[in-house]
């Protein structure tokens, strides 16, 4: 976190020149599929992890969103909303390529690039006046948009937001989707806040909105005008109140690094099963995958979490009974090999609800530590 101003006498909107640019791709996976297959352009398209009715949509195109399809809509419901919806399975190689190319483009403009996800990045131009060579950030933003279209394809569009901190840059990027470019400064901030709802602010969910509402803060403008002490002592009852006070005014409080806390995988079964052999097979494949990811990051996990959704026998008079179950254990030694993770996962899975069919399985390692040697532990195999 950078320099924070003295707020004891109240604080106005950050007056410095905007130097933070937020860029995200529109409906990344669906748009990439429409770029790859020109026949899909202009049609409702949705990407899912697997082509089954029980999975959910993870990326709907803008055309699909017009039918009310959102991230998390079950495939079955999405097809009911839009019978001509084209549902595609994820193609990770394609999305990884798009991610790599946009990172390369971003890094041509500033070395301070932070990718927040596969399709969302922050470009920090603080102290880059010489590199910019007199160009404004708006010009740079337009150039990046043109390069994305030129190098990745004409269907690929990005939203660009420019402001004095990450929060406002992200807010700006979301103002005119798709293909927007907006700048938030001290001169237009209140006007923009005046046009938005509380939940339009990134990071304000239903619970936060309810908390703010309970104190009479029902609009972004009222949020901006709220006293720092009231936010800290009564609304958020933590340092979060102070952070929101600064964030809303364009001061940076979100430039901290993050560390990996868990490595895991989630899998929805095509055919729900109670067969122990099939469950073991799924757990083995997932454990190998989790182990591979841990080794890739040079990590090992002492803790293992295994969870799942189980459904009861099929019924003809209504939906089958469904329940969630999980188990976790902190082992004396850290594991990074797939076989060991599998053995530990099976130990936990032995406690799963008997006789119920597995629908969704999660295997996740926590309490990560550096995997500093390939030496096998004498205690491996012991619980």
């Amino acid at each position: 976190m950078g320099f924070l101003p003295d707020i004891s006498r109240g604080l106005g909107v950050n007056p410095v020149e905007p130097r933070i640019m937020h860029i995200d791709l529109n409906a990344c996976f669906a748009m990439t599929e429409q770029q790859a297959n020109p026949l899909l352009r202009g049609r409702p398209v949705a990407v899912t992890n697997r082509l089954t009715k029980t999975t959910i949509i993870i990326s709907p195109s803008y055309e699909a969103k017009r039918y009310g399809i959102r991230c998390g809509t079950p495939v079955e419901e999405a097809l009911r909303l839009a019978p001509d919806l084209v549902v595609l399975e994820t193609d990770p190689a394609k999305y990884t390529y798009v991610h790599r190319r946009i990172v390369e483009i971003f890094q041509d403009y500033t070395p301070a690039v932070t990718m927040k996800s596969i399709d969302e990045g922050i470009l920090d131009f603080t102290g880059m006046e010489e590199v910019l060579g007199g160009r404004t950030l708006e010009q740079v933003g337009r150039e990046i948009k043109a390069r994305v279209a030129e190098e990745l394809g004409e269907w690929m569009t990005v939203n660009v937001g420019i402001s004095t901190n990450r929060f406002l840059a992200k807010l700006a990027a979301g103002l005119n989707k798709p293909d927007g470019l907006d700048i938030l400064t001290e001169h237009n901030l209140e006007v923009i806040y005046g046009c938005l709802e509380l939940m339009d602010l990134p990071g304000i969910n239903k619970r936060y909105a309810a908390r703010l509402g309970a104190m009479g803060i029902t609009t972004p403008l009222a949020f901006l005008q709220a006293d720092e002490r009231m936010l800290s002592k009564q609304v958020f009852r933590s340092i979060n109140g102070r952070h929101w006070y600064l964030r809303l005014r364009g001061y940076e409080v979100d430039d901290y690094g993050t560390t990996m806390k868990t490595v895991g995988k989630q899998f929805v079964l095509h055919d729900f099963t109670a067969d122990p052999e099939k469950i073991a097979q799924v757990a083995y494949e997932m454990s190998i995958h989790v182990g591979r990811r841990m080794r890739k990051h040079g990590m090992a996990a002492r803790g293992l979490y295994v969870g799942g959704t189980f459904v009861g026998p099929r019924r003809y008079d209504g939906p089958a009974e469904s329940m969630r179950w999980h188990g976790r254990y902190l082992f004396p030694t850290a594991a990074w090999r797939g076989e060991e993770i599998y053995r530990r996962a099976m130990h936990l899975l032995a406690e799963r609800p008997p006789g119920m069919r597995l629908k969704l399985l999660v295997i996740s390692g926590y309490r990560l530590e550096p995997a500093d040697s390939g030496q096998l532990s004498l205690y491996e195999g012991e619980i």
Partner: protein, 89 residues
């Protein structure tokens, strides 16, 4: 609807460089099952890992069909992996 094909095909392509100096390959015509298709609209070109090597994936569309072509750079072999009409399955 997407149909998996996985058949070798003959392709006429041009090889060159982009303005930034990267290699550029553009397929123009494809012969598949004794019929020629003009590959009109380029979708995307991206590498994909196959074991210890990268293959190049090209997606193209003709009048009413989209194709997913794979180029094995080691053997310069083209394979038509999928065809699609862009309609729901």
């Amino acid at each position: 609807m997407v149909e998996i094909i996985n058949e070798p095909v003959a392709v006429i392509a041009s090889f060159g460089q982009t303005a930034r100096g990267n290699a550029k390959v553009v397929p123009h015509w494809m012969q598949w099952r004794e019929r020629r298709y003009r590959l009109m609209t380029m979708g995307m070109h991206h590498p994909e890992r196959r074991g210890d090597k990268n293959v190049h994936i090209f997606t193209f569309s003709s009048d009413d069909m989209a194709f997913r072509l794979e180029l094995d750079p080691e053997y310069l072999k083209w394979t038509l992996m999928e065809v699609s009409d862009g309609l729901p399955s």
